[in-house]
Amino acid sequence: MNQHKKGLFDSPKNVQRVLYFLYAGCFILFAVDFLVHRHISYYWENVWAFYPIYGFVSCVVLVIIASWMRPFLIRDESYYNDEGLDGEANEKALEKTEQGPAASKGDSHVDD
């Protein structure tokens, strides 16, 4: 497989095109809101451009809260690897016992 193959989105122009398409779509949908009479079943829907605003705001809020949560929750990739059953320590112990009985007798053991 040719790794250096030029992809469709390697040129910034094409990426920009996709974005323009998105902006245009947003604009049209926003404009349609004024033309179409929708039937309302919840009073918040009366708010001007309710769905576009709600969609945008809720995603921004989602990402901001998630980013705020992250420092509290983030740990190293091997966080759960070093203890208990998961444990590297256990694995090392296991390796030790597999090396034979001498290895499992502990460091201070002297054969007499």
């Binding site: 902006y23 949908l29 769905y51 969609g55 992250r70 983030i74």
Partner: protein, 565 residues
Amino acid sequence: MWMTEVPPFIFLFFGALLAAITRGKLRGGLMLAITMISALNLWGMTDGVYLQFAFLDYQLIPYRVDKLSLVFGYIFHLAAFIGIIYALHLRDTVQQVAAMLYAGSGLGAVFAGDLITLFVFWELLAFTSVFLIWARRTRRAYVAGIRYLIVQVLSGVILLVGCLFYVSEHNTIAFNYIGLEGVAGWLILIAFGIKCAFPFAHNWLTDAYPEATVTGTVFLSAFTTKVAVYALARGYPGTELLIYVGVAMACFPIFFAVIENDLRRVLAYSLLNQVGFMVVGIGIGTALAVNGAVAHAFNDVIFKGLLFMSMGAVLHMTGRINGSDLGGLYKTMPKTTVLCIIGAASISAFPLFSGFVSKSMVMSAALTEGYGWIWLMLLFASAGVFHHAGIKIPYFAFFAHDSGIKAADPPTNMLLAMTISATLCIAIGVYPQMLYALLPFEVDYYPYDMTHVLAQTQLLFFSALAFVWLNKKGLYPPELRSTHLDFDWFYRRFFPEVLKKSFTIIWQVDARLRLMVRRKLTAHLSYLGAKETQLSNLGSQGYPLGNMVMWVAVVLAIYLLLSIF
């Protein structure tokens, strides 16, 4: 016994037996054939009890059919069929046998007409599926599998205790509406809730699913949680508590999904989010809402399966699944990219894709029943699911920065399985009546009215706009090689640490106590000893122990001599 009276799980268990004794292409063919025969056998079954017998004082009903169980029966066959195709390249007897047994257990559970049979299949689901995790054959998978098994078996045990209470309260074991009256109702709800991955009981899923094999996760995503959704739909429709549990389930996982790096774990979180919608539907409990929940379960099996398959294909071909390692794969895996985007569009509920026609039923039901705030939260969850499953998954795997990984599209059988799922996603989205005809209640619902379509499209487009804006501003949390803590930290780290610490303290206190007691005893003994030396002049001092032993020997010798003569 007529052919039609054979419950579907018998077919699949037989299929597992065949899979165990055959190899290669023959095995794949047989597994597909058995699943197809079982599906044909089930097709068009009418309501009724097809198999029952007396066990002790109770009627066991291993095969009861009604519209609710039938729709789950169909989707489970479909899921098994697609999963088997996806795994056709596999040469791993453990996985293939386990997959057949697991699918059979799922079918057994949804056609169980009594709680004892349900319990049996409930436990079988746990014991058969864990092999799909262990089959990864890594240490991480092994340990995750153990944790998974502990939680699943716990759920089964609680279900059994609940059944016993239920029998004493109602004097029947038939599995119908249960409700929250009495101890039994609560216990059984807890058991169902654990399997349904309710908040705080959800970590078995996000922990174990990403550790399973490429093909195993596809099976896992289809059955366990959907059996729980089915059980809730039968036992607890209209239980208001479920609305709040469901909405929490729909909302909180999306925050974790945004920051998670392992893309299959992102999908596991979005699985929770989708099940949340179903639980809300069951909680509302009207015909429209339960239909919506069931339809969404049906669609979720297909589109979530498709997403897990596409991420599985990425893992299979590149050996990586972390968002931080992937990117730019659209160049080398174009077909997988397109199929993944179809799955992403379906889960995001774009009009003309399957998610739209079922999610909107639950949302409409929430509105018509006057749960305005719930509806707002669900709308937030809808925007959120688009954000993490609709955009994040395809974006970080196939686009974003070019990771330079050499890859190719996966084997034909994997592509075929994904294509079938993708076709179904679009077919159901375009022609929802096909799905609606299978639903348990007669409901006249039409998803494609102007208001719905416009509202949903606006919501999604502006969510996408938010993603672009956040990315441009650099506010979007980057994919980092990391572990993110979740509630499982409490039982994987906190409680073990606390126990360890408290045991250290207990041992220290214990040692000190012993020492103190020993000192006291020694003091008393020496006091007594001192007294005794004064007394012992009269007795034992002149007759040491050796003397006594000699006399015993003499007595024994005499005894011996006497016994000889």
